[in-house]
């Protein structure tokens, strides 16, 4: 089980959170000018790394805040927490 360090509430049990996916994907500025392949890449593809990943988490059963963590998908170590930009 993960203990997730929410920037507002402090360390809480993973059951209170929902993983929001990889944080480094960027929504294309103008989706209409993208090819279908580029748009599908943004929508569906993941780096899905074995190791360090930067991802969104949502403290849905707590303060409802969104924030980013650096997590290792192999060891489950969480090394960095960053609040969502205002």
């Amino acid at each position: 089980m993960l203990e997730i360090p929410c920037p507002w509430c402090g360390p809480r049990n993973e059951n209170e959170f929902i993983c929001g996916g990889e944080a480094d994907r960027k929504r294309p500025k103008d989706p209409d000018s993208e090819t279908d392949e580029a748009w599908a890449d943004y929508l569906y593809n993941n780096a899905n790394p074995k190791g360090r990943v930067r991802e969104w988490w949502w403290h849905v059963s707590g303060c409802t805040r969104w924030f980013m963590i650096d997590r290792d998908t192999l060891t489950h170590a969480i090394t960095q927490v960053e609040d969502a930009p205002e």
Binding site: M1, W39, D41, Y44, N46, N48, K50, T73
Partner: protein, 393 residues
């Protein structure tokens, strides 16, 4: 049962991954297409991944017209492979009963039944009385949070001895000339002008113009060697097994309908329990406790007597879950590099995926039953969205 050859410098085709899917693909390449100059490269030992540890269930109760005939092919093959491979897969046709505990589940069951009937797959609704007759140990309590209203039944769902699938395919492929090379980890894939030329392994460089990937739980890792991004995430799926007891449960039972807990009694007498995937990406091969707690709670609500059982072992296997929950059997951006991402029911699809994957590799064109399962479905928006898989709880 099979040779352990040294890798040759070049093959017509290489399959990465010596589990059920990879060994099966090699077997069908040899048998259906006469391509026998094939190597299967396995990083560990044969069938030592998810083929060696899963919940043994094969079934075809799915929602979409692209899924049902594909999974029916798998059931057809499973029911004949023991004879074809001359290797006993111990297919045990127990049937599967999904409990109906909400009107939404009832609606999904009826929709599935209608789709399945079109393809000749039997799927029928059971009243509560019929469920109780089939499962005498089930005594519905009036205090259940979600009372059981009835069930839906696939008589042809079966349990299959999982190791035997790997061993049977391996022996038959080896007999037709396929080289099965264990302890051979792929560390890189070479390409020139957009076409595959060779794989780099812990046992040297091996050349081939066709390379197929069938690596459950490491799809993104291997595909990234060619810069190929995939619409998948890797998640643990847990299961646990009790001490053996005398026969009490014939059918495979699914509680809280399609997203819930499943359990069955193995031929050895153990109660095998599982639920959906853990809710975040992980390669850790260990699961989160909340899944165990949740599944055990829902099992005990229906079978309170199982509270006396002792659990013997527990594991988490890594699954590559595609965005829409359906398998991906596809070409890629690199010519000659093909992928078979089993998705969440990798075991039940093994023979169908192997057969259609071999067809794709041999002909550079998809098998008719896997035409809709290519990577191109994501750009075209024609997803094969499946609810009846452990991916979507």
């Amino acid at each position: 049962m099979w040779r352990s050859p040294e890798p040759r410098p070049e093959y017509d085709a290489i399959i990465i991954g010596g589990g059920g899917h990879g060994l099966g693909a090699a077997y069908f390449l040899a048998k259906d297409h006469g391509i026998t100059n094939v190597a299967v490269l396995e990083k560990g030992w044969l069938g030592g991944g998810n083929t060696g540890r899963n919940t043994m269930t094969v079934r075809s109760n799915f929602l979409r017209e692209d899924s049902v005939p594909f999974h029916e092919l798998s059931l057809d093959l499973y029911h004949q492979l023991s004879r074809e491979l001359n290797y006993n897969l111990m297919v045990s046709q127990r049937g599967m009963i999904t409990f109906i505990q909400s009107s939404a589940a009832n609606r999904v069951a009826l929709q599935m039944a209608n789709t399945m009937h079109i393809y000749g797959a039997e799927y029928r609704m059971l009243t509560l009385e019929e469920v109780k007759q089939k499962i005498p140990i089930f005594e519905p309590s009036p205090n259940m949070r979600l009372p059981v209203r009835g069930g839906v039944y696939q008589p042809r769902a079966s349990m299959v001895r999982h190791d035997a699938v790997a061993w049977g395919f391996a022996r038959a492929a080896d007999a037709r000339g396929v080289d099965i090379i264990q302890n051979c980890e792929v560390t890189g894939i070479r390409q020139e002008n957009g076409a595959v030329t060779a794989v780099e392994t812990s046992r040297g460089v091996i050349h081939a113009k066709k390379v197929g990937m069938a690596v459950a739980g490491h799809g993104s890792v291997v595909a990234s060697m060619l810069g190929q991004r995939l619409p998948i995430i890797t998640q643990p799926l847990q299961a646990w097994v009790s001490e053996p007891i005398k026969p009490v449960l014939n059918e495979i039972v699914v509680i809280r309908s399609y997203y819930g807990t499943y359990l069955m009694q193995s031929d050895k007498g153990e109660i095998v329990v599982g639920q959906g995937c853990d809710p975040y990406p992980s390669y850790a091969q260990r699961g989160t406790f909340s899944i165990i707690e949740d599944a055990t709670t829902s099992m005990l609500e229906v079978f309170p007597s199982f509270g006396r059982l002792k659990l013997l072992r527990h594991w988490a296997g890594m699954l590559d879950i595609p965005y829409d929950g359906s398998p991906i059997i596809s070409k890629t951006d690199t010519r000659g590099f093909y992928i078979d991402v089993a998705g969440s029911g990798g075991f039940k699809t093994t023979p169908a995926a192997a057969k259609t994957f071999a067809h794709l590799i041999a002909n550079d064109a998809p098998h008719p039953l896997a035409e809709k399962l290519g990577l191109d479905r994501f750009a075209s928006g024609r997803l094969v969205q499946e609810g009846g898989v452990s991916a979507n709880r």
